[in-house]
Symmetry: D2
Subunit: 368 residues, 4 copies
Amino acid sequence: MVGGGPGAFIGGVHRMAMALDGRYRLIAGAFSASAPKSQETGRALGLEPQRVYDSWQQMLVAEAALPPSERIEAVSVVTPNHVHHGPAIAALEAGFHVICDKPLTTSKALADTLVAAVEQSGCHFALTHNYSGYPLIREARELVRGGGIGRVLKVYAEYLQGWLVDPIEAGGHKQADWRTDPARSGPGGALGDIGTHAFQLLEHVTGEKVTRLFGHRSSVVPTRKVDDDAMVLLEFASGASGSLIASQVCTGCENGLTLRVYGTTGAIEWRQEHPNDLRILHKDGATEIRRPGNSYLSAAAASLTRLPAGHPEGYLEGFANIYTAFARAIRGEQNIEHAYPTVEEGQRGVHFIETVIASAEQGQWVAL
Amino acid sequence: MVGGGPGAFIGGVHRMAMALDGRYRLIAGAFSASAPKSQETGRALGLEPQRVYDSWQQMLVAEAALPPSERIEAVSVVTPNHVHHGPAIAALEAGFHVICDKPLTTSKALADTLVAAVEQSGCHFALTHNYSGYPLIREARELVRGGGIGRVLKVYAEYLQGWLVDPIEAGGHKQADWRTDPARSGPGGALGDIGTHAFQLLEHVTGEKVTRLFGHRSSVVPTRKVDDDAMVLLEFASGASGSLIASQVCTGCENGLTLRVYGTTGAIEWRQEHPNDLRILHKDGATEIRRPGNSYLSAAAASLTRLPAGHPEGYLEGFANIYTAFARAIRGEQNIEHAYPTVEEGQRGVHFIETVIASAEQGQWVAL
Amino acid sequence: MVGGGPGAFIGGVHRMAMALDGRYRLIAGAFSASAPKSQETGRALGLEPQRVYDSWQQMLVAEAALPPSERIEAVSVVTPNHVHHGPAIAALEAGFHVICDKPLTTSKALADTLVAAVEQSGCHFALTHNYSGYPLIREARELVRGGGIGRVLKVYAEYLQGWLVDPIEAGGHKQADWRTDPARSGPGGALGDIGTHAFQLLEHVTGEKVTRLFGHRSSVVPTRKVDDDAMVLLEFASGASGSLIASQVCTGCENGLTLRVYGTTGAIEWRQEHPNDLRILHKDGATEIRRPGNSYLSAAAASLTRLPAGHPEGYLEGFANIYTAFARAIRGEQNIEHAYPTVEEGQRGVHFIETVIASAEQGQWVAL
Amino acid sequence: MVGGGPGAFIGGVHRMAMALDGRYRLIAGAFSASAPKSQETGRALGLEPQRVYDSWQQMLVAEAALPPSERIEAVSVVTPNHVHHGPAIAALEAGFHVICDKPLTTSKALADTLVAAVEQSGCHFALTHNYSGYPLIREARELVRGGGIGRVLKVYAEYLQGWLVDPIEAGGHKQADWRTDPARSGPGGALGDIGTHAFQLLEHVTGEKVTRLFGHRSSVVPTRKVDDDAMVLLEFASGASGSLIASQVCTGCENGLTLRVYGTTGAIEWRQEHPNDLRILHKDGATEIRRPGNSYLSAAAASLTRLPAGHPEGYLEGFANIYTAFARAIRGEQNIEHAYPTVEEGQRGVHFIETVIASAEQGQWVAL
């Protein structure tokens, strides 16, 4: 693991996600840019001291030098965005599989080199757009791509949070601090942090590609150096259209990711905060609510649930589904199709950020 | 009443709304452009035959000639949009108060003359943006305008229906027929029919004025002569921003009008299909759900409920609230402030339609 | 109308319910046991003074003496429970149809005489168990009775309110005053006021008869003279079982009437406070939500809706459905089967009250 | 671990729950009464072969013989109910802490000996009434016990499932097989399997003790050897009353555990299937919805969440909270009060089963 030291949020999530299904063992890490902090985290996690490194560079060199049976197999990159590209490229070059947090990189140019590196390496690469790991997102994908709602007409995605409505980065809030610093988060604030999740999800579920967009973004908190709010109109190759809104200043919103897709014969509606209800609307019939663990689900969705119907699984379980699918890929086991987000999806996310910024600056539609 | 003959929808709604509180008696009408149909409707409603007219022109002349104690006091205009302006102006000139369905007229220019006519007439004029008659919309308005959510930052309004996803106008569906015919509905389809409701509601509740917008509209059904889908980005005088989406091709949606307003300290969320739950989000506290009929509501909201808490009132009751407030105004009774939508709000709605169309054509932001 | 004077609640509801569909004209009334109050109400309602009576006895005599074309056709009895039996019997004897509020009478013995009187009179009689007027209750009834959930196994009905958690009758609350006075409400408090609604609803929807019950009741407010809380276990002729709980001391509950019925192949779940969602559960399929105004509903349910899908109708509309069905019956028009609750259902409700009381006293199961 | 071999359900849950927070390492097990199956499971879990035992008796002897630094510290008992008492007593006698699934034993007499054994052993003992591990159940408990809803008046608990509506035990369904066999499940079917969960939860949250109950139970599936449906009326020492229903034949229900508690000034409502919404009703105020991860929660509730607000945690996380609290207890770390269910709660659950059965047989109220 690279990153995930004291004060980190997502590192702990990755560790719980890899523990849940017993497919991973965390045996080495460079948990912080500060060597003592890295050691502190390694100790807390019960790692052997010699496998806790002062830097990711050191880790990759040292681990690559170990006999194959002892060395790590895969690297989790859970650092702030500007430290995704470096360790990911290096890990691939050292022959390790890579699981990387999103957004992939801080620029499209860097993303391109990473895509190339994955190809050359022959290694597996997963990007933790974890929301695609929910069973009912998988069900929605199977349904929509399988024609279950007819031809897609409208797509509305939202990701609303409220935690940045005040300039808490000024008060030393660690998560706010790096996420609102363009040097570490990249050019997109809300756009990158949560907008890319919504974007990945809508293309993942619909199988449709956005071809043109119109963006509006703002820093609602005036002192903020990145956007904390964005609204994007979307046009798709198929002729469908839609919108994506991402905001971190919607007071009272927690983690309000929603996806709604309307087709010629039906529709799906899903809300991350109640992830176990998938509403399916029908042109000539009653609304359906599908829930995990039931026999009527597609095989792909069924494979992502650990418990009988009515036993809620949530964020960590969805995250773990990505990890477990990646473990299967590494082991060459049978896997569901598109079981985890790819480096290309990460590249597209970064392209999305840059395109919205360009459109908002120009006040015009821009091709994606 | 002008309009509301056989096959009409909204005329019957107006009649139930005026009956509910016993403040109106329907005594005359020109219910259709077809004289026999007007007579048929008049008979079914139990009107005296001599008060059922062959045209609204005839009705206004004849009624004005009656002694004041016998003649009508107010005229309800419930015709398709292109027949709002004529009878409304004439009724005002004849000294009758007017209640008119929305959108006000088929062009901003016509709306301007109607605004002037109201002023000159000294009569009262109400536009049935009926959704502002819901008690919890009133509560939201009191709360938001009273500073209860701080400074407004984001406003999202939606009005999603699915009934026009197929070209049912081609099959003789009477409601679809005139609503998709620009000669009768005006230049906006979904924009005018439902978009203006959402627009009125968001300005009504927030007290904020949209100053600039960016529009996208489409005829998702290719043979359709008006838009059946619109997406609009909004900027407000206060610096707030937001979006409005209105669509009649969202399969499975019934009458999905929603309003969400996020401020610096709180937020409100409301859904027309479950109109008796107003969610209030707080920056540092649990989410609240306010419901009608409870002692904690504002006086203005409390005045719009007829029943104890937990006895659902709905669309007709909200509509009736507009009618009853208008009756109070005519009678000079104490009334709640802005108890019914005005002709100026109707004018602004028509301006909104024209501005969205202009923006969508130009692909640029346009001032409103 | 008998009753419905100043301070009354249900009288106003009956008047709105009869106004909504334009099938009734209120032309006479004895609105209060106090003659001046009766006159005051009559004036406020715009009745001709000579048709406002000082007592219901006077009204029935005077109206019966009018020529058939002028006299009233039906009498609404909206008084406290102990004044249902007298005017109802007298009205029937005078040849008037009767609409009566629930519970039918204050004793089974009185109910028996009323049933007999209806039979002898040849008049129509409706009891306003208004909740059976909701369109989705009708849908549930059609579904359950039509075998749509298989054989019924379990039935749970609840009616929870919180308004009597404090002894507000001591403070002069008019509604609480008579409803907690056994001389006026009869022996059941919560049991009679709301328990009978739940009981009627569960037999109405399932078509099953309760044959045995076990009751528990209490006066949670110690000074209260009637029960304000009851719990009843139920066994049905078919072998099904279930429970009914009715309480007026469930703090924060408004008007929480719910019905759930589970069968061998499916189930229905309905909540009065959100009356436009009927959940249908299936043994081998996703949960369905049916909503009014859609083409997939049964004809019987469809006939109870005035508006397109998504335009909420509520309590008053459901109440009006009872009134309108009764008007059709009086006029001999085509009607849906069991379109309004009958005097026999009222008789059974009073029997239910007495049986629960007996069981609670004995601590044993008692046959019904 | 004792139990949890091929085809087991709850064993896998315990393993995920212990893995999530990294506080446990599974190093030994007797996973099945069949030695080959135990070995198969041990291999699949990656255990050292010599720590996979053919029987729990063998395991306890062998582990106790290991040096303290190598031997197991605690035993998870995840077998069918009739094999709880044996390994639990033996483990305690061997000086191991015990985590045991519910219900505690198959009789009150056996439960009594286990309570005594825990006392004598000086070891810690936890019963996995896992639903008490949800953060909002903890919040509810803090609120109710702290007087936040006043004096408790009414308590309604439900646990509705539908999976046993058909006699699937006849078809070889492994879970149904032992759960409907009185020799393995004990005398209560639904009562023991899910009724005890509801019972523990209601006493856990309210701090009130049931002192008297009236029970009804049935085998809705006629060939079934245990009850699959139960209804129980409850009276509490404080004067409160309520009901508990537990059924496994409510078609379409998944895992419908709900708890509602009404007090003199407020109320709480909670549903396991949407465990992250706690509704709090107030006598004179709007309904509140509290959600995990927010600053307004009690410290005790806050300690049970791993993620920021809006990132759903569910069943496994609640289960893991029990495991982690138990690990803290074993380590002597600071813990929240009553952080995991005790052996006495298990004893009380078995007593509850026996008392309901007695009451149902006698048709009378019975003291508990």
